[in-house]
Every structure is written in structure tokens, then in C-alpha cells.
Symmetry: C2
Subunit: 452 residues, 2 copies
Amino acid sequence: MKVDSTELGKYIKEIRGTFESSLKALVDIPSVSVDPEHKADVERCAQFGAELLRSIGAKATVVPTQGHPAVMGELIKDPNCPTVALYHHLDVQPADADEWKSPPFDMTVDNGIYSGRGSTDDKGPALTGLYAVLWASRHNLPLNFKFIWELEEEIGSRSFASFLKSNKDHLQADSVLVSDTIWISRDCPAIPYGLRGLQGMLLRLKTGVKDVHSGLAGGLARNPIGELCQLIADLYDARTGKVKIPGFYDSVRPSSQTELSNFQKSGFTVDGFIKSHELSSVRTQDPLEAVQRIWSQPTFELHGITGGYSGPGIKTIVPYQAEAKISMRLVPDQDPAKIMELVTSFVKKLNADVEVIPQDSLRPYLGDLSGRFAQAACTAMTEAFGKQPAFVREGGSIGAAVTMHEVLKAPVIFLGLSLPEHGYHSVNECYDWQQASGGIKMLAHYFCELCN
Amino acid sequence: MKVDSTELGKYIKEIRGTFESSLKALVDIPSVSVDPEHKADVERCAQFGAELLRSIGAKATVVPTQGHPAVMGELIKDPNCPTVALYHHLDVQPADADEWKSPPFDMTVDNGIYSGRGSTDDKGPALTGLYAVLWASRHNLPLNFKFIWELEEEIGSRSFASFLKSNKDHLQADSVLVSDTIWISRDCPAIPYGLRGLQGMLLRLKTGVKDVHSGLAGGLARNPIGELCQLIADLYDARTGKVKIPGFYDSVRPSSQTELSNFQKSGFTVDGFIKSHELSSVRTQDPLEAVQRIWSQPTFELHGITGGYSGPGIKTIVPYQAEAKISMRLVPDQDPAKIMELVTSFVKKLNADVEVIPQDSLRPYLGDLSGRFAQAACTAMTEAFGKQPAFVREGGSIGAAVTMHEVLKAPVIFLGLSLPEHGYHSVNECYDWQQASGGIKMLAHYFCELCN
């Protein structure tokens, strides 16, 4: 099928008001999945998500899980038509209002820029998908649509596998479209075919039951923060990022020459990366090494150390406990469970008193960038944004993608719309109409391509 | 002069009610000098301190300084009599009420145990001194008394030197008595003749302006907490406590055989130390090495690392800044300024981006345990507690002691009353009537000895 560009342009213009009011209503619900205090908000967000699905004529159900609910929707044209499942998530990262320019849960619209937590990750792209499907439905495209809107993506998709398995028959599709990835830059669209996995852990050390006076006890008392620092320095070299855990890199699948060549042609620049993340410096200036570091190499990351004194200045105590918050991004073919074993045994060898507490675990993903779905995605993105997308990997983790690939046995296509400056997980997260309108256009083309 | 033991016993019994109500009134004022929010409480505590001095017939003045005020008092018998200056401090460490068994600023009395912040450090000993002077005054001892009650001891005695210099003439004394030190255990009284100094510092590293997504940026973005951990591991070995900064130990004065022999006879046991500080293990089991570690060896101590995520579980961000809160206890003849230079240049060599911010600085002190004041102290303690005190050093720092020794040019005698289980700087700090009553007895004997 061919897209009538003039008509599509008119539709996009008309839908803008609806898109913006729906997005504001959605962003204004603080669906912070990690925070038990927001449990009711997450539930409310799911219910509102279902209403939005119904508003375009889809059937929608809020499905309870062991954790937060998931939203399931469908818009069936004809059982004999091919089916596209659209995956998005409606839960968001926490946000500390004090650090934001405008309140994170009171979305502002300024010259086509939508600021608020979840605007780009992933509520904006979810609505972009929704209103592209509405267009397809109004134009009687011979396609069925299914919607999978998760509310536990930011906490490692804990209940997603069991939700998907239980509702497998309802969610069966010929292909899955995921829109939760990020371009290289506004001028460099990207289609990723691989995701990093994740293994989180806490390292905890307790050497007493209360802080003690650093004059009276210092020198003889152990210092749990100091010992964790030393342990961490033995686990990885923070200056280079190199992980020192024996066997850590053993299962890393080397990149092919084609992949490296694609990486090199992706349009990624170190300066662009530094600018969009507002960093003062990074670990390398070499662009190829840089993209490998964020796309195809595993990491060891320290998110925080708690314990001891955290107020202004110093407090002369020897702390009695400390906890290091860590996660490792993993790449094919690293297995999170195996990595957890390697880390635990190495930690125990270095400091037997340190407790190793596994956290969220997500497997890495490496898809295949060939076949009709991938080709359709490439064509659609080129049509909509006037630029050929780069074929890259993505450094983040979408556990749901791996699960959908396995349970639904359907190809997973990543058609992301977010930009680095949209600030995934950062303060002042935003999305914009340029990406949303281009996204509706891209998806309209994509759906039409699938009808050919 | 001789002490009439029966009469002294009667006095102590009678004064108990006054002592306890005064202590409660004093402890209930949250005079937390480090916290700007408690500025008015610190001021109120100074005023109340002056009232307490007046209640025993002394003249008292609250003296403003650049920081918190100091309290100055005197009870002059006869200008021709020798003068004893008593130093105490009325400011206290912060206290997090959630962690305490009973509210830190609402003193409880339970079977002669006084629980509350500041009860042992140093409000209880201050009142012990006060009511011993009242006894001396009532018995017309040929002694003059001066009181120096500081309110900035817990923040490094920032204004003390200038206060002392400005009021030198008023505060002139033949000897200074300091009661802010700790025994080995309830059965092992101790008279320290040395104190460790202190040099605090913050190590700060900023690598961006906001937390960024650890999937999108992890591997390429620098991790300031990781880099500080690595730096700290290069500055000291947390497992052994050994400082790796070149030149750090160069000025440490070795202990004489006599001193080591005194240390060995002090009654210190590693098990007792572990028990009183409620530790799970310590860096050595050897008692002589243990006491050197806390009395005569310098330390490197990490009080906390801030930056990054500190909530429950993990948050997959790369933090953009981190601050390590550190202090080093110093021993004779280490010079805080020189140590600060050594650390700064070593840090700059290891990681040039790390900012080194000096904090409070206190010089170490080593007095002489001979002469009539020391002998009087020893006799008094033996009389009051039935046990010969050990001659030891103290691991803590009392900057004021060094300053008084220099400005007043008078010998400084440490007659502490606190016990390890009283929990200096810890939760559930307490003091007890056994030490307070013994303390009044000890000081009565000490004052009488000074009249001989």
C-alpha cells in the first residue's frame, strides 16, 4: 500500500491537540514503579492506559500480575490479516522535583517540547504508536494490532514473563514493534538490533551495630566503606572501565567487521555524546572505541555507596555498615546467572565478610537485521525523516524484548524515537512534537509496508 | 588538706538531685554545634551554662565569638591562692532520634544511668566538675576556680584560640583540668597525657551536571564514585589501615619502651574494646598493637561517600558527582598543614580532577606525666575509685587542650570520667551516677591535694 502524504500530513496536524492532552494526562500520573508509595498511581496509570486504547476503538484489559498490572489491547480488522504487536511501557523512573526546572509530574508544553518524567521514556512513544494505529484503522489497513503496555519496565520487568506466558494466545502476533530506544542524534536516526542485558547487585558489609567515635576506635575498628572501596577497586578499574573479575569477558561475542563498519558509519561523535549527556569528559576520544563501550561491551557501574555520614562537612565517626549499589550491563553471550556466580566467588575471595545480594537481572539481546520487517522499518524511517537510519546496537536493556522474542516467537523490531537530549532517566526529561509527528508518519509508512 | 570522707559522702548524696535536674535541663537543650538550625539552641545552652555557674556563686559571662559563644566563669577565693581552670564543652554531636532507644534530647534517668546526647560528652563531666567546685567553695579550700565552657568543641574549636587569646588575662590559671577523656573500662581508670590531632578533608569529583542513564552512557561516561573508590584504595589499605600516602608516617614520634610498657599494663583488652563498641571484629587481636593503633598511630578514616543513588535497591544511573568525607587522626610530631600538603599533592598525582577541600584541623598533643599536678591527679583517682589509673594516650582530639597549653602556659591535666560503653558520638549516649559521684569525690581529693 502507498501512503497519501498530503492526507497523512493533515491527519498528523489534526491529531496534535489530542496527542498533547493525552500525553499530559499520562505524564501527570506519577507511575513510579520502583516506589511502593506510588503503587496506586501505577494502577491508575494502567487504567488510564486502557481508556486511551478504548478511545481509538481498541478492546483493552488491565491484567493483574504478581507486581504491577499490565495493559493488553487489540484492534482486530480481520483474523486473516497479519498482526503487529506494539510494546511500550507506562511506568517511569523516580524524579526528585527539587532538581527539575519544572515539576516532573505536571507536564509543560513549550514550543513543541513536552517536559515531564516519562515523556520520552516511554509514554510519548506509546502515544505516538497509538495515534499511528488510529490512522491505520481509519484507513482500513489490512492489519490487526495488539498492544502490550507494561508497568514494570523500570524495575526489571519482574512479572512480564509470567504475564506474557499466561496471555500468550491473546497476544500472538507476526511481529513485535518496540519503541523505547534512542537515536544517535536528531540528525542521525538509528535502528538498533541488539540490547545489553543487566545484572544488578548490592555489596553489603557490616562491621558493628552503630557508628563509633573515630578518635576512640579509629585505627583498630574496621571501616566498611573503606573496605568496600578497596573491593570495588579490585573488581574494576574505574578510570578505564575495565572489569577485573576473572572470566567476566569470556563469553563476550566479538563484533563482525560488518558490524564495526556499521558502527563507524553511524554518525556517532564523541563530542555529540558529551554534549547531549552534559559530561565534562569521557573515557575515550576514539569514536569506534566509544560506541563499542556503550553498545557492544559490558560494563561495571557503581550507582552509589550508602552508610556513614551524608550531611554537610565531615562527622568523625567510623561507620558500622556500608552498601555499594552496582549493576553490570551485559552483552551477548554473557549469561546474567553465570556472571553473578563469577562476581560472588571473586568477592568472597577478596573479602569474605561482604554479602553479595543479587538484584534485577535481564538478558542481553541480539536480533537479526534482515528480512521484510527490518527492511520495512528502514524504508519507513527513511520516508518519514528523510534520512537512512544507522544499524546499531543499544546500550540499554529492555528485558521485555528478549521475553517477547522467546514467548511469542516473533521478530522484534526496534523503532525508537527518543533523542539523547531527551534525558532518559535524567532530570528535565522531555519529548517533542518533531519526533512524535515524524514517528506517526514513520509508523504509518511501516504499517503500509507490512501490507505489501 | 585532708578530705573528710564521711562529710564528702554526705555532700555527694545531697547534691544528687540537683546534679540530675541540672543535667537533664542541660541535655534537653539540643546544642548541636555543627547544625546551623541549632544555632539558637547552642546560644541558649551557653546562657543556661552561665546560670548554672552563677547557681554555685561564680561570676559568669557568655562571650560572643566569630562562631558560637563561649562561657567564662570564676569563683575567686583570694587572689593569692593558686588557680585551677576547668575546661569542658557544652556543644554536642548530632543525633538521629529514629536510631535511639529514647529521644536523644529528652534525658531519661534509669537506675542511675543518664541517657541522652551530650550526657557523657561533655555535659555530665562539666556538671561533675561544677558540683565538685561547689564542695570546695563550701569548705573554703584556698583555691580560685575558673571555668572555660566551650560550645564549638565538636566542630574543631574554630573560634577557641581567638577567644582564649582575647580573654587570656581573665582566664590565667596555674593549671588546667580537662575532663573529656575516656577510661579503658569501668575497672581500669586512665589518665591520658597525649591526644591525637585531626585533619579533615573532602575529596570531590564532578564529571557532569546530572545523573545519566547507565545503559545509554555506561562504559563511556566516567563514574565519579568508582574513581573516588579507586583513589581511596590508593590512599590507604582499608583492611590493615595502613596509609599509602608518601611521607605520611615520617614525623611520627616513636614510643619509648616506658610508654609501651605502660600501654601493656593499662588493662586494655581487645575483647573489652570489641564489646564496648559492639563491633563484630577488629584489625588486630594483639593488645599492644591494638592500643598503638588507637592511641599513638595516625589513621585514615572514611566517614561517608555521597553522590549517586541512596534509596532502596539500585537505580541504573551513572552519577555525575561524588564526595568522600575523610579525616586523619594525627600523632606527635605530625603537622596537620604538612599532612594536608602531602595528601593534596598525592591526590593530584593520582587523579588530577579530584578537588581536595581541607576541613577542621587540630594539632596532636603530648604532655608530660610528672610533677605535682600529675601526681595529685593520680592520687585523687586512686582515692576516689580504689584503683591506680593507667597512664595512656587518648585516640581522640581536643584542640582546646593544645591551645590552652600554649596560650595559658599552664600544665593541662586530663581527668576524664567517661567509659567506652557511654558511647561518645554514638547512638544511646549515656553517663552514670557511679562515674559522676566518683568524679566529684576524685575532684574533691584533687583540689585538696593542690592545697598541700
